[in-house]
């Protein structure tokens, strides 16, 4: 799906836990996430801490969407 959305002309950022799969699939902007069953959360944190973590990841995704890239890029910290 990521690749087809990109092909249609929309910049897309893939937020996922298993980065090698994302690369194989052909995503160009990749933001690694927390864990498979809760990519954008962490149940062991308090609700507030968890939301702050999620915000940080989403902000990273927004930054990826604003970054010029020429090849598959993993946006680490």
């Amino acid at each position: 799906m990521v690749k087809e959305i990109e092909r249609a002309g929309l910049p897309v950022v893939h937020m996922c836990t298993i980065v090698p799969i994302s690369k194989t699939v052909g995503a160009n902007r990749i933001v690694p996430t927390v864990a498979i069953p809760h990519p954008l959360g962490n149940p062991s944190l308090s609700h507030e801490e968890e939301k702050a973590l999620r915000r940080k990841l989403v902000e990273k995704a927004l930054k990826a969407l604003q970054t010029e890239i020429h090849e598959q890029t993993v946006f680490e910290d």
Partner: protein, 347 residues
């Protein structure tokens, strides 16, 4: 008799399903689960001396540590051959089998065999490096897969010459080998041409690699003006799954209105996705589809707006062909609605 170490995930080792996918690597003496059929298929020429087991999520989330532990376990038994899976169409399991098999082969110098369905993401990652027996997409194919894996494993252990992918049943690795053909090239080429003209099937002798990459689009110039859409393969749906999206091998995607929705709650949203533990997503679907945070960012003017609809499907064992079709249709609708960028989340 050759010594074999076998690798399985928590499911095939009969430990449990998703609720046990977080278990760390462990080793057991002898065979476990499908190892029994493998052992029988060796017909006394080889024997599984130990089985290494690891949870799929544990391996995916702690790959470096898990890989190190597993290599130590394998090394201890000093096997003549290492077999992983078969993993069929299970993505995390296939990736784990291939990653471990590659490390065993390269770091311990032990021949390896695994087995997968052609669309398993582990295939594209490592088919060049490994013998991956081509299997069906589910455990129904165990009976076909086991004898082929056993036969290839024995050949490797004995150092015998390995035949073509078609002869041995493994997935093409893109390796070319010289051989003496019975007829010369010009005749073979003309024969092939005539078959082609007649519309008969023919087999090329020079397959071209298939690359399907899409170049990245230019970035968003001003994100504070951009309309951003959420798409997920994590199966987040309104409670009750109104479109009945399948928990695996999805045949459709859903489009859901989130106007006025500021937070996904356990009363209103859930996941339809099988194949991962749904507890966390059902408690708070924002953990997969970050609507709450995007609403905050929208309010603060950090993004232009969050698109009124989000799109969702289940990525579990879904055919690549279907996923591509969903992606095309979703993109068409998003562009028609004036969306400028997409955040796609996966579990």
């Amino acid at each position: 008799m050759f010594k074999v170490v076998h690798y399985l995930n928590q499911f095939f080792a009969n430990i449990g399903g998703e609720e046990k996918a977080h278990i760390a690597p462990e080793v057991r003496e002898g065979f476990v689960g499908p190892g029994m059929a493998l052992n029988n298929a060796f017909k006394g020429e080889a024997q599984i001396v130990a089985t290494v087991i690891c949870g799929d999520s544990y391996f995916a989330e702690n790959t470096d540590t898990a890989l190190k532990q597993i290599l130590e376990m394998v090394k201890k038994y000093n096997p003549d051959i290492f077999i992983a899976g078969p993993a069929f169409n299970a993505g995390r399991y296939g990736t784990a089998c291939a990653t471990i098999a590659k490390a065993v082969k390269e770091e311990l110098g032990i021949p390896v065999v695994t087995g997968m369905y052609i669309e398993n993401p582990g295939v594209d990652l490592y088919k060049k490096d490994l013998y991956i027996i081509s299997t069906k997409d589910s455990a129904v194919g165990m009976r076909d897969a086991v004898p082929k894996m056993a036969a290839l494993a024995l050949k490797l252990a004995k150092g015998e010459e390995i035949g073509t992918p078609a002869q041995e049943g493994y997935i093409e690795r893109g390796i070319r080998k010289n051989y003496f053909a019975e007829e010369r090239g010009s005749k073979r080429a003309v024969d092939m041409l005539i078959k082609k003209i007649k519309g008969e099937p023919f087999e090329t002798e020079f397959k071209m690699p298939v690359f399907d990459r899409v170049a990245p689009n230019p970035p968003i110039a001003d994100i504070t003006k951009a309309k951003i859409a959420l798409v997920t393969s994590g199966g987040i749906v309104p409670k009750g799954n109104p479109d009945r999206i399948e928990s695996s091998s999805a045949s459709k995607f859903g489009k859901y209105d989130i106007e006025g929705v500021f937070d996904l709650t356990p009363e209103t949203y859930e996941t339809a996705h099988g194949g991962y533990d749904p507890v966390y997503a059902n408690q708070d679907a924002d953990r997969v589809l970050p609507v709450d945070v995007l609403r905050d960012l929208e309010k603060e003017g950090k993004i232009g707006s969050l698109h009124r609809y989000y799109y969702s499907t289940v990525g579990n064992g879904t055919a690549v062909k279907n996923a591509a079709k969903f992606g095309q249709e979703i993109a068409r609708q998003l562009i028609a609605d004036g969306v400028q960028a997409v955040i796609l989340t996966s579990t």
